[in-house]
Symmetry: C2
Subunit: 291 residues, 2 copies
């Protein structure tokens, strides 16, 4: 999807939140914000939002001289999620539809998104879990199940640290031997990298790769050739989170997006109310089947 005018104030606010997270120096904060504003003046609205987010967070890392400013936050998210894992596993196992419950909980994990919120508390996560347990996942579930049952090579695009622990519940339901999990190629925001996938124990379960890119999304042209080969050869791609939806929503193929609609532009793009737990396919072909 393209960048919208609504993304502009949101980028500015996110940039301020982000720079404040990584430095307490007001002069550095101001300098960074003015740089971001300068880029915004000339922003190419035809590009998807993760292109600007990538630029913002690359510069942030540079300006504070820290290649992974969200390291501690990511570790803590993984820890919080791992503590919840046994209980969540029980919810999945006891559900008459374990696959669907695992999908809903994977969406619940998508609340752990530092691009949207400044802070995520244990209470936020618990609220998202409660929503997952009680509210529908909206989208073409029958089509997903059909594609899933026929799939031989599944590529699972992870989104954030912490969230990736929730993803494990779903990956376990997919017959993991056919699954490859891809994470970002370098630290960006609180997006999951290889070390977060390992924290979640995914290295014991599936083939793990990184996409070679530091965008908070999947900008194919920016990804490694090796990743693109995986992407092309998968007969099912499960793409978690808003960033992957923003960057891949116009691609062709058996892609299923799984996310919580946390921003009103994306919710409108998917044709659904803010806060909805969404299963979507590319090019707005969103069915409103409730499961």
């Amino acid at each position: 999807m393209k960048t919208t005018l609504d993304c502009i104030p949101c980028f500015v606010r996110q940039s301020l939140n982000a720079v404040r997270m990584v430095t307490t120096d007001p002069a550095l904060q101001e300098r960074f914000l003015r740089e971001v504003l300068q880029w915004m003046v000339h922003i190419d609205m035809h590009l998807p939002p993760p292109v600007m987010a990538q630029r913002i967070h690359r510069r942030l890392k540079e300006i504070v001289g820290n290649p992974d400013p969200y390291f501690a936050v990511k570790r803590q998210s993984n820890r919080m999620a791992l503590e919840l894992l046994p209980e969540l596993k029980t919810s999945v196992e006891q559900d008459p539809e374990p696959l669907v419950m695992a999908m809903r909980l994977a969406v619940a994990g998508n609340i752990i998104d530092m691009g949207v919120s400044k802070t995520i508390t244990a209470a936020d996560i618990q609220n998202a879990i409660n929503q997952a347990l009680t509210e529908p996942l909206v989208g073409p579930l029958a089509q997903f199940k059909q594609t899933l049952s026929a799939a031989r090579h599944i590529l699972y695009l992870a989104d954030n640290a912490g969230e990736i622990v929730f993803d494990r519940l779903l990956i376990e339901q997919l017959a993991p031997r056919r699954v490859t999990v891809a994470v970002r190629g370098a630290p960006i925001l609180n997006d999951a990298t290889i070390s977060d996938a390992r924290d979640a124990g995914l290295d014991q379960l599936v083939e793990l790769i990184d996409n070679g890119s530091d965008a908070p999304g999947t900008l194919l042209a920016d990804c490694s050739e090796s990743f693109r080969n995986h992407f092309e050869s998968a007969d099912l791609v499960i793409a978690k989170g808003q960033g992957n939806f923003e960057s891949l929503s116009r691609e062709q193929g058996n892609i299923f997006f799984l996310f919580k609609a946390k921003c009103h532009v994306i919710a409108a793009h998917a044709g659904l109310p803010l806060g909805t737990q969404v299963l979507a396919v590319p090019q707005n072909e969103v069915s409103h089947e409730r499961v």
Copy 2:
């Protein structure tokens, strides 16, 4: 008060809301937003926020070729408020402390602020009235009453259309013969001008002047000499709304600010929670007496 980093994303968001209110042309909206971003790159953070707001709204009027794009909104606000006036008058008259109740209702009227919200509904206004009827006004009330009882020349700085009808309740309690009400010198946002003061019936009650400036606040250097003379010679200035607080909070003299803290920067500056009904004096000398 100075502009803070938090004001920057807020200016960008307000600019987008404002341009959408006055034109449906996406190209014009985008062009305007890029212009605002360019100003933000070089914004002087030492100036109070109404300086940038003035620039934004001046340009908005120019770009859409309409000197008063909020005209219809202002008329509607006045009408909504006038319909409530008889009932509110009764609340004031029946209160054991009519002056204080009138102050609280004048603060309730401060919810009608298009700089903060995109739309104000009758329900928003009713909620603010309910808050006024039940929650305290926080500030140095005893000091205000003392200054008021000794005052011979009171200058009342109005804020927004609609709100100015609520102001009338308070002005009636002040012994109106000693009161001059000042409005903005030209249309800006939904700020009250002479015609709104007349809609509120203030021309029958007090001396009405305008401040000669089109800032959404009171930037003394931008005001007319005649207004500045009134300001200097008043022995009590009552300044309504955040814009007047932002622009006059560092001035000397018997100035009492009366507003609802609708923005977290201003609330923090006043040392009070968001949403508080505030009576404040210059230079952060906010007492937390509850009345």
